[in-house]
């Protein structure tokens, strides 16, 4: 950011009580919320790491010596490396269209973007089996051309893209709507091309929101279980992602290894959470659309 740093204006009424409840009631509410969080979020997370390190650091690390575990990690990274950029491009395009233009069917598009949030992941997986499976709509065509979709990488990527569809767009739409079109109109009137306007005006305005959306999209892409489970075929060392591998290890009584791989996924969640907190703390204004531009 090239702007001069201004002293933050003192906010009026900061810390002033706006409710009439007594201190006891507020304390009870806070305690209830905190103990709920501790019981349902913190404790399970701690258990994952405790179980993973039960046999010491050596046993923990040896869980990642297994070629199947390495293949699962590789597959998960590959799937995320394909699905996240796709949804980044789609999310920016969709948000750009929705926030900066008026067109018929706009509300329908917004609703469609939200569809993956409301559909059970198992259903999204099954839909792809029904479309691309050997008995499915495109099955005979795909078979005739030797293209594998279901029970192979493309199917897993498709299911992941479907499930992580809304994350980037959902993050950007309110942000871009809030920012309006004035900056872009100014750039265009000064003779900038559409691409240059996007790269030098729009992108800097939304970059932190975009980054946040990508983080969430990535976390979900790596952690998705249901939809991927349906289209994976569970071939060891080939089509098992990390979440599926955790289930397999657990079902083979290999609890330490299961929790070790699970701890990697938990770590991913923690990093996402930390990055989110840093972003909100540092760039809270840019995230909520009250940016300097």
């Amino acid at each position: 950011m090239s702007d001069t740093v201004l002293p933050a204006p003192a906010r009026e009424g900061r810390g002033r009580r706006v409710t009439t409840e007594g201190a006891g009631a507020r304390l009870a509410l806070a305690l209830a919320a905190l103990s709920f969080l501790a019981l349902f979020l913190v404790l399970p997370l701690v258990v994952v790491f405790v179980e993973a390190f039960k046999g010491g650091i050596g046993t923990y690390l040896s869980a990642f010596d297994d070629p199947d575990a390495q293949a699962a990690i590789r597959l998960t990274l590959t799937v995320a490396a394909i699905a996240v950029p796709l949804n980044l491009v789609f999310g920016v395009a969709a948000a750009w269209a929705i926030a900066k233009f008026a067109f018929a069917g706009k509300s329908l598009l917004v609703t469609l973007i939200d569809l993956p949030f409301s559909v059970s992941p198992v259903v999204s997986g099954l839909v792809y089996v029904l479309l691309f499976g050997a008995q499915g709509l495109f099955g005979p065509f795909l078979k005739a051309h030797g293209i594998e979709v279901i029970f192979a990488l493309p199917g897993i990527v498709l299911a992941t893209v479907f499930v992580t569809f809304p994350f980037v767009a959902r993050e950007l739409i309110p942000l871009m709507q809030e920012q309006g079109t004035a900056d872009e109109e100014a750039a265009l009137s000064l003779g900038a091309s559409g691409l240059r306007t996007f790269l030098t005006v729009t992108l800097p305005n939304i970059r932190w929101g975009l980054f946040y959306g990508v983080l969430l999209c990535n976390a979900r892409a790596m952690g998705e279980f249901g939809a991927v489970s349906v289209v994976s075929g569970h071939i060891r060392g080939l089509t098992n992602t990390m979440p599926l591998h955790v289930e397999i290890l657990y079902n083979e009584y290999n609890f330490i290894a299961a929790f070790a791989v699970a701890s990697l996924l938990a770590l991913l969640a923690l990093v996402t959470l930390a990055a989110k907190s840093v972003l909100e703390w540092r760039y809270g204004d840019a995230l909520s659309g009250r940016g300097a531009h």
């Binding site: 990274l77 078979k143 279901i150 990488l153 790269l199 030098t200 800097p204 657990y250 079902n251 009584y253």
Partner: protein, 346 residues
């Protein structure tokens, strides 16, 4: 505002990203060695891990070629469904013949006479159905009758998705039928009482074992004999014990080549060798070590055989007229199992 330098950075970043994506996409397709996919049922994970390693070594010694066997495990019915939907199995090693029949009927990738192509009805190993109870047998479970006692919790997987569950069901049915002298109504009443005691139906045998042993649900697990022994081995004999019923079923989990898939891949020869290998003395010894009953017991270590209890076994052909008939009568939509579940859970 971004400077032109920053714009260039963004451009370079996008190009780099595209390169990574393309590389990742192609890297996963670049595999050279012969790969066979064995689509199997739930409790054979440990068995085939050893059998696959032994076959790969044997094949290397005989031909100098490297072969990798990949496996996929799950409930037998669910696995058959995946092969029907296009899972590229070279061989299927499922829990029961009806599931392989289903693949043959729907896809035509397996000939209808598949079961006569290999010795012993295409079953290189057999097993049976026994009970696992908590140490000391606190509920005093001795035989099938005890499973229908009110207030008892019985863990067994879902016959719709699991092959083991269908063997469990038919074993119970066969016991009731034999005991009552062939009275089907009595067998139906017995099974209804039994399934009233089932709190959860997992999709596969391993899921049911984990429910019973790890999650601590239920008083008795109805399980494959091999799965029962494995539970004791994994969790210690101080936690569980095996109860052998007076009568059970001879379970024959068959294997078959998926002709349509191996011919498309050009792997017929090695896939056939893989199935033939299962009948060799070396494989039969491994089979006995994993608590399955080898069809050639003379090849197994005597100590492995001595662990398996001797009990009276009836066959599906003798009591039910074969899998095709049993499947249609009991497990098809609206069949006897559906009627029993309806009666058990009004």
């Amino acid at each position: 505002m971004l400077t032109s330098h920053q714009v260039a950075l963004v451009r370079h970043g996008l190009i780099l990203l595209a390169t990574i994506v393309l590389f990742a996409a192609f890297a996963s397709f670049a595999r050279a060695e012969t790969v066979l996919l064995n689509v199997s049922y739930d409790p054979t994970r440990e068995l085939y891990r050893d059998l696959n390693a032994a076959f790969a070594a044997d094949w290397k010694a005989r031909t100098g070629e490297t072969v990798t066997i990949r496996t996929s495990h799950g409930g037998s019915g669910k696995q058959a469904r995946s092969v029907i939907d296009g899972l590229d199995a070279a061989v299927v090693t499922l829990a029961l013949a009806a599931d392989i029949d289903a693949i043959a009927a729907v896809t035509g990738k397996i000939p209808a006479n598949w079961q006569s192509r290999l010795p012993h009805n295409s079953a290189p190993y057999t097993s049976t159905i026994v009970f696992v109870v908590r140490k000391g047998n606190p509920k005093g479970i001795r035989d099938w009758d005890d499973l229908a006692r009110p207030g008892l919790q019985v863990v067994t997987p879902n016959p719709r998705t699991s092959g083991g569950a269908r063997w469990n069901y038919l074993a119970a049915w066969g016991y009731a039928l034999t005991k009552s002298g062939g009275d089907e109504a009595e067998a139906r009443t017995f099974l209804t009482a039994l399934f009233r005691n089932v709190p959860v139906l997992d999709t596969g045998a391993r899921g049911a074992t984990v429910t019973f042993s790890q999650r601590g649900i239920g008083d008795v697990l109805v399980a494959w004999e091999n799965e029962a022994f494995l539970t004791l081995k994994e969790f210690g004999e101080d936690k569980f014990e095996i109860v052998v019923p007076s009568l059970s079923i001879l379970a024959e989990p068959p294997v078959a080549l998926v002709d349509g898939n191996v011919d498309a891949r050009g792997t017929r020869q090695v896939a056939q060798a893989y199935l033939a290998f299962l009948y060799t003395p070396a494989a039969q010894a491994i089979i006995a070590r994993h608590f399955y009953r080898p069809v050639k017991p003379e090849a197994a270590a005597p100590a492995d055989l001595a662990r398996l209890p001797k009990l009276e076994l009836f066959t599906i052909d003798g009591l039910f007229g074969g899998w095709a008939k049993a499947q249609k009568e009991h497990f098809d939509d609206g069949g006897v199992f559906d009627q029993i579940m309806k009666a058990a859970r009004p």
